[in-house]
């Protein structure tokens, strides 16, 4: 998994173009943030990487990703399974033997060791998203796709989740789709804005992630991103 992941080409749904001549490269072992207006096709890119783009006609070249891990805005926890069983969902649906000890370790990592036997509806939104993170970690994939994973959380929880996720996913190839310039500035090692006419790269800070919210380079990048996002296309 040291080859850069690359997607070049065009996509359409039922004959309606979603994006064309996109050229996106994910640097191995680093975080790429993808921003852009709503409906521009960010989730479609992510779904193509995940092999989930039913109904999307993709014309181009896409590196083979192997199996990936994915986390979205909704926690997608199964309400009938305990927190622990949700963390082990992957093994369950593949028919493998679930590794309980490892799953418990993941819960410790996200700070939910005491909640293993609860059902998801008994947790807060932030806690549920941490379970989703534990489930993602449990999959242990080199490539992790994140589609606005923190956008439903309150500001404080979001900041904590950003730090936790960055800590726990270091060394992996991460594609993070977000609408939040601050989030991109904190977590992006490469920051791209998707527009109908292609990708625009915005310089990311060089400091290691997760960066401090108040760091000078974060604030500067955040302002930069705002300007770019506001600019008429």
């Amino acid at each position: 998994m040291n080859q850069p992941l690359r997607m070049t080409g065009s996509a359409e749904i039922d004959g309606t173009p979603i994006f064309s001549q996109l050229d996106l490269t994910l640097t191995p072992h680093s975080w790429t943030c993808l921003l852009g207006a709503s409906g521009v096709g960010k989730s479609t890119v992510l779904r193509l990487f995940a092999g989930l783009a039913e109904g999307v006609t993709f014309d181009g070249v896409l590196s083979d990703t192997g199996r990936v891990a994915m986390m979205a805005q909704q926690d997608l926890l199964m309400p009938w399974l305990s927190v622990l069983d949700n963390v082990m969902l992957g093994a369950r649906v593949r028919g493998e033997r679930p590794d309980k000890d490892r799953a418990r370790e993941r819960l410790v990592q996200v700070g939910l060791a005491d909640h293993a036997d609860k059902l998801p509806p008994a947790l807060s939104g932030g806690q549920r998203q941490r379970v989703a993170l534990a489930r993602t970690l449990m999959e242990d994939r080199a490539i992790v796709l994140l589609d606005e994973p923190f956008s439903a959380l309150d500001a404080l929880t979001r900041a904590q989740m950003q730090e936790l996720t960055a800590d726990l996913l270091t060394g992996r190839t991460v594609l993070l789709v977000t609408h939040d310039p601050n989030e991109a500035a904190r977590l992006g090692q490469k920051i791209l804005i998707m527009t109908p006419s292609g990708l625009v790269e915005v310089a990311a800070p060089f400091t290691p992630i997760p960066r401090d919210i108040h760091a000078q380079d974060v604030l500067r990048t955040q302002t930069d991103l705002f300007d770019h996002l506001r600019r008429p296309i």
């Binding site: 995940a50 979205a72 509806p121």
Partner: protein, 247 residues
């Protein structure tokens, strides 16, 4: 228990109305027996009623069990395969146009006067509601759950069993709740057409001999048993199959 109180109040209301009709119209007791007489008959004929109720309940329970199992399996088959869906769905819809009651004599002809013609009738009557409400729920599985499982590398069969089926169990429960109310109808119709045992048979017998009080007694026993069964299944569903919606 507010539900219980309301139920008792409603029962009292019906009894009062019933008695009032008798007092005001002076209707003969073999046309409409007074509540007290029916109560007395229930008590005096308790052995007879129990014997026949046991038969009817056996038909209802076996029919429920088999019909629910059949509906469970069919719904999964329908949901799993578009080919099965395309083939079987028109048949299912068409079968609903056939008046089930008209089948009772044929079933008696084929399966005889024993339990099985009634059980089959019960199965036929509950099969559709169970299948269709479970099937609908299976087809409504959150697409993102399925997507997540696919990304994890699950096969369609495992997605069905570990995601779609558990997600749809509340839909299966609503089918069961309907089935419990319909099942006794199937058994009784079966008994009317040809039987030597059961509450339906007892009703016809009592009717033929102008023992209206016994007929009412059998009817009330049937209604009470249906309500008890419904309550029991409802509890069971609440404990096992239902689930609070995730906020």
């Amino acid at each position: 228990m507010n539900g219980w109180r309301a139920g008792i109040a409603a029962t009292c209301l019906v009894l009062v109305l019933w008695q009032t009709v008798i007092w005001t119209t002076g209707v003969a007791r073999f046309i409409l027996p007074p509540p007290a007489l029916v109560a007395q008959t229930i008590w005096e004929s308790r052995a007879l009623l129990t014997e026949h109720a046991a038969v009817t309940m056996a038909e209802v329970l076996i029919g429920l069990l088999l019909g629910a199992a059949l509906g469970f399996v069919s719904a999964i088959g329908l949901a799993a395969s578009p080919t099965v869906r395309a083939l079987v769905r028109p048949i299912l819809v068409f079968s609903q146009a056939v008046p089930v009651f008209a089948l009772a004599p044929i079933l008696t002809l084929w399966l005889g006067f024993g339990l099985w013609s009634k059980i089959t009738m019960t199965i036929i009557i509950i099969y559709f509601p169970v299948t269709s409400s479970f099937f609908d729920a299976l087809m409504r599985t959150n697409r993102d759950w399925i997507g997540l499982a696919k990304v994890m590398g699950a096969s369609p069969a495992r997605i069905m069993w570990h995601i779609r089926v558990p997600a749809a169990l509340p839909g299966f429960a609503s089918g069961l709740r309907l089935a419990v109310v319909y099942a006794p109808i199937g058994a009784i119709i079966g008994e009317w057409v040809g039987a030597s045992k059961g509450l339906g048979y007892l009703m016809l017998l009592a009717n033929g001999r102008a023992k209206t009080d016994l007929m009412f007694a059998a009817l009330i026993v049937l209604a009470v048993l249906t309500i008890l069964l419904h309550t029991a299944v409802n509890r069971l569903c609440e404990k096992t199959l239902d689930r609070p919606e995730v906020s």
